[in-house]
């Protein structure tokens, strides 16, 4: 029997590295050609890049004259690190920003560790109390010296705009999506108009409107903070996109889920909160995170209304006469930092998807 089984068993697969290579990289002549071409491309691109970034780079020193090697001059970043990370925020008050980062970091790590108790409370703290702490710590009050938002900048400003935009736009987007699908014509039409107007306008236009046009409609003397105006613009812009993403998820829900919820007596809001939204949001996690990543990168546009975000300030310090000619280093550094944040979101989204997967 055993021998017979062996004879009729599954076909023998070539194992080991050679088998893998043959199957995936050299399965036929054009595949082999592409493989060789790809390897060649890597060969001409990677070594010079590694040399420039690491091997030939300058890491130690305090002025541009210390950059004597061929490669990148990271001293440029080191010397301007305070500006790049915090903008013009007063040096003696920087601990306030760091304190906020620390709270965020600790609660974030706590939430990421599986199977801890009180995660709900930590989450509620992050969503309700933490924002209050942020406002007080960052802008001043309760005995802390006020720091005007025109001094905010760098990576810190980018995180503030993206963070507020992302956190507030999701609930607004969900409400807009529900509104657009509402049976009440007035609600549905208003939400549709709102969504389509925001989606039909480029973010740059939104920011210009918020910065330059909005004050014209306000009575004399009323002056909203420019940052707050930009935040509101980013928030609604992002919410309009999210609304359509969420609506896609809602439309993918089978009718039976609505009927079963109604049959057990759930009211509209409970049905949405307990049955429909948990499932439809789960379905569109990749698209939601995609929207978040887009908005994170789009915050760089606030430069056009005179706010110096992370990228903006890197460009700005590049125009300092002491550091002219180091924009490459600046852009590479900016790209690396943006990548880290965007990839973190992407990684989290995959993790969340796996965690929430209960089959269909």
């Amino acid at each position: 029997m055993r021998a017979a089984n062996k004879e009729f068993g599954p076909p023998v697969i070539e194992l080991g590295a050679m088998g893998w290579l043959r199957k995936n990289l050299f399965s036929n002549w054009y595949n082999s050609l592409l493989t060789i071409f790809g390897l060649y491309l890597l060969y001409i691109l990677i070594p010079p890049l590694v040399n420039w970034i690491f091997l030939d780079a300058n890491f130690v020193g305090s002025t541009r004259d210390d950059c004597t090697n061929e490669g990148a001059c990271w001293i440029f970043i080191q010397q301007n690190i305070k500006l790049i990370f915090y903008g013009l925020y007063p040096t003696e008050e920087l601990w306030r920003i760091n304190f906020v980062y620390l709270i965020l970091f600790i609660s974030g790590v706590y939430l990421l560790i599986p199977n801890l108790k009180y995660k709900g409370w930590v989450g509620a703290f992050l969503l309700i109390i933490f924002p209050i702490i942020c406002v007080v710590m960052l802008s001043g009050g309760l005995g802390l010296e006020a720091v005007e938002t025109r001094l905010w900048g760098g990576l810190f400003l980018t995180l503030v705009i993206a963070g507020v935009g992302i956190v507030l736009s999701l609930p607004i987007g969900v409400m807009l999506a529900l509104g657009r699908r509402s049976k009440l014509p007035v609600v549905s039409i208003l939400c549709t108009i709102f969504i389509e107007i925001w989606r039909g306008v480029p973010l740059i236009t939104v920011l210009f409107m918020a910065s330059n046009m909005f004050p014209l409609f306000m009575p004399e003397g009323v002056n909203f903070d420019k940052l707050i105006r930009a935040l509101i613009g980013v928030m609604f812009f992002s919410a309009a996109y999210l609304a359509e993403v969420v609506r896609g998820g809602l439309q993918a829900m089978p009718k039976g889920q609505y009927e079963a919820s109604q049959a057990v007596g759930l009211t509209y809001w409970r049905m949405m909160a307990l049955v429909i939204l948990p499932q439809s949001l789960k379905m569109v996690i990749p698209a939601i995170i995609g929207s978040f990543i887009a908005i994170f990168k789009d915050t760089t546009l606030v430069l056009v209304i005179g706010l110096f975000d992370f990228l903006g300030i890197i460009q700005f310090v590049g125009t300092n006469p002491d550091w002219l000619g180091f924009s490459h280093e600046g852009y590479v550094f900016a790209a690396a930092v943006f990548w880290v944040f965007c990839y973190a979101m992407s990684w989290y989204s995959q993790r969340l998807e796996k965690k929430l997967d209960t089959g269909r």
Partner: protein, 245 residues
Amino acid sequence: MSSELMIEMKNVHKWFGELHVLNDINLEINKGEKIVICGPSGSGKSTLIRCINRLEEHQRGNIIVEGTELTNDSRSIERIRGEVGMVFQQFNLFPHLSILDNCSLAPIWVRKLPKAEAKEKAMEYLKRVQIDDQAHKYPAQLSGGQQQRAAIARALCMEPRIMLFDEPTSALDPEMIKEVLDVMVGLAQGGMTMIVVTHEMGFAKEVADSIIFMDEGQIVEAKNPKDFFDNPESERTKTFLSQIL
């Protein structure tokens, strides 16, 4: 058993566009009665029971469930849905919740039971349909028959006085039909008022107090099982029976 009136339908009409799906339905169902509704597809039998808990809106006539008239008033709808449980052809369990959470969700949020009590009660009903060992699994991990029994338990957790079944075995593999029907028979023997849309004539013979045959939105015939099978009056019923028996 006293003849307490549970459901009353008077001259009920409903249209889907031009299509007259319910045409002058008159029906009285007493406490503890088991009604089986059968008929060709498109005859309006599902629509009829879906009108009872307002998954569909009737356009003319009156539907009175336990003394509450069904109107557009959301309070009347909520009250009636609290008394009426429903089981669907496609189970419609909530796939993101465990079986136990499927069952305790509505008791917690609608009946406002404390969590522990709701879960305890859910386990009780899951035991009754014999899937208490599956309580912590998700719907997708269960077989069709187990899912449908879970769906029955979910409806029972709200302690309804009336149960509606909309073709509960039509989506099941043949070998799983019996386990679901057994649960339904047990429920019937417990005295539940039941309206069952089904083509399981064995079940109808065993359990039904009366069988209703519907065609083109009308009740063609309503009789006790013996008369229904032995002396059907209308030609339509005879043809139907000859096709399914």
